[in-house]
Amino acid sequence: MIAAILFGLFCVLLLMSVPIAVALGSASAIALFVAGKVSNTYIPQALVTSIDSFPLMAVPFFILAGDIMARGGLSERLLKVGGVLFGRFRGGMAIIAVVTCMFFAAISGSGPATVAAVGSILLPVMAREGYRPAFSTGLVASSGCLGVIIPPSVPMIIYAASANVSVSGMFLAGIVPGLLIAFGLIAYALWQARRDGIRATGEDQTARDVFAAIWEAKWALLAPGIILGGIYGGIFTPTEAAAVGVIYGLVVSMLIYRELSFADLYRSIAQSALTTGTVMVIVGTATIFGRVLTIERIPVILAESMTTIVENPIVLLLLINLLLLVVGTFLETLAAIIILTPILLPVALAIGVDPTHFGIVMIVNLAIGMITPPLGLNLFIGARVGKVPIEKLIPAMPPFVLTMVLILLALTYIPALSLALPSWASN
């Protein structure tokens, strides 16, 4: 009964364009009122306690670091390295797009930020070189998913907080899956570019040119090393590494490249605080929503019924994937993580799935949700920066989605793809 009110209201409000955070919060408030089990002071209390977390504080830093580096001239230099390395191949721009997204993903924790940073510079160039805008925008929107799969990753931080696993462990587990998806996207993109008759435009480069471009981009190339090296070298916690990323980005773009003015910096900080506010209020209200479910014992009931109806773990994992894919189409990533982790993780644990591995499966699923309508943030941002109408962009997406789904299946059934790196690192 309470669950029906909760989910029913939530869906209705969501359809009526009520912001997700408010839909979650209002549905929970009414359900709590009807259930009469806790006082309404519970809502402001949980809004504070749910985000009173040091690991969560990495979120604004990773957003800000990415933003500063995008505005401060680091992305352009990364692109130039891509140009000298891959420009001479047929479809080389497609490789450049994915590889640059990978690099940017290793600085930024967000999918849309990756799309915006890379797409705004790269998509005009790709259009000049004859790529269909819908295809190139689709490629960048899909590669943007790497932003949350290759560490650092905001959704991984949220998952780690919900599932009580280590943020750094999640980060390590995301590296191989991120590389696999990057290869998958490159493979499809090269095939498609050849079919579309794209020719190579870049000239052969001398070793000297390659070296010069790399040298020019050295500070940008170093950034992922500082962030991830700092965490895995035992120097910083993930949150501290994120703050160091901000400070490093500031030094490089203000003092070395001198491409970031104080006015830019102010806008960067304001923008990251804005994103943080919209995201954290979702964390807060989704936590309340999840607590209502917990108090009503829904996760326990659902987990028990799921494991009794479907006993085969392979089928069960497939069902969980399907559920996550469907949820990912319409629900915002972070809200989905906070609501679904307490429900699905016990099921996964019951069939012997490692919680870190499960987190990767969940995040890749929801990353795919970023490029599927109706709610796909990477699509929206891609359409904006690529100047492609969203209805033209959507038909270009199925091959990208299919590529990622195939890799997702591999990740689901071969845990070592996620877990080998963290377990190797611990020895």
Binding site: K37, V38, T41, T49, P55, S168
Partner: protein, 304 residues
């Protein structure tokens, strides 16, 4: 299904002695109230971490909880006494305080902050643990980056003793130790084992520096909803299981040591321990300031 199902939250996992004992208490309460009252258990911080649980008891958002004393001190400063290092030398000393008039006074004192104190269970003595070397005296602490709980007294005590302590979220601790962001930590042995810290820490020094009880607490309004008879049955059930819960916790520490042959467990002589307690002396004054000297003096007198 009982008429009154009390929501009971805690932050420990279901395999801990405290949770297992809680299941026994639930059965006992149902039996002794003819099924009128029961507990609905929410382990693993499902309803919030310890600080939030205490607050939710005050606000009436949950009915019951148990928490360790370190976060409780922020609500009632009397409980800072349990953060005083080397206050208790053994379990007998602990129980003489907790099960005597002082312990009862402190439980009753929680009424001032909107909490009904029900009973003391055991979290256990805390030990010093580290990755790099056998620590026998305070001098061995030099240069160790140490994780402590977020508690002013703990941080001050370890800083005085010579370590480099800082608070860190518990969820980040394992990896921080693994990566070497922190070298050392402190806590009960059974928790150390159940969280698999033996994979990243090689030495346990039996410092017994702090004894931490679990405080069972209840929202006063939830208590007054029960008949006097049922409330008495509920309190009696917690008291009845308490000795068993303490025994289970001590056994869990012993089992944990036996299950970790790769970890060097070092006994400390009274002289070794004195090197810590002497340096941590200034912390006694800090606690006295917070608590009021009288309570501290009475506890010290009781355990002598």
């Amino acid at each position: 299904e009982p008429e009154t199902l009390l929501k009971f939250g805690h932050a420990a996992s279901t395999s801990t002695p405290a949770h297992v004992a809680l299941e026994k208490v639930d059965a006992l309460i149902r039996e002794n109230t003819d099924g009128r009252v029961g507990l609905e258990l929410f382990p693993n911080s499902q309803l919030g971490g310890e600080r939030e649980l205490i607050e939710s008891i005050q606000l009436g958002n949950i009915d019951m909880a148990f928490v360790s004393t370190a976060p409780l001190a922020a609500f009632d400063s009397d409980f800072y006494v349990f953060d005083m290092p080397f206050l208790f030398t053994d379990h007998a000393a602990v129980y003489s305080v907790l099960d005597g008039p002082i312990g009862q006074e402190m439980l009753d004192g929680l009424q001032r902050v909107g909490i009904m104190g029900v009973s003391y269970w055991e979290n256990g003595f805390r030990q010093f643990e580290n990755a790099s070397r056998v620590v026998k005296t305070a001098d061995d602490l030099k240069g160790l980056k140490m994780r402590t709980m977020e508690n002013e007294v703990h941080i001050a005590a370890w800083r005085e003793a010579g370590a480099n302590p800082a608070p860190l979220a518990f969820g980040e601790l394992f990896t921080a130790l693994q990566q070497g962001t922190f070298d050392a930590m402190e806590g009960p042995i059974n928790l150390f084992y159940s969280m698999k810290f033996n994979e990243v820490q090689k030495n346990i020094s039996l410092t017994n520096h702090i004894y931490s009880p679990l405080v069972i607490m209840m929202n006063p309004d939830s208590a007054s909803m029960l008949s006097d008879e049922d409330l008495a049955a509920l309190k009696a059930a917690f008291a009845e299981i308490a000795p068993l819960q303490r025994e289970m916790t001590q056994q869990a520490d012993k089992d944990a040591i036996a299950a970790m042959p790769s970890v060097a467990v070092t006994e400390l002589s009274p002289e070794d321990l004195a090197t810590f307690s002497e340096k941590m002396g200034p912390v006694y004054d800090l606690v006295k300031q917070k608590v009021g000297g009288d309570l501290v003096d009475r506890i010290v007198a009781t355990v002598k």
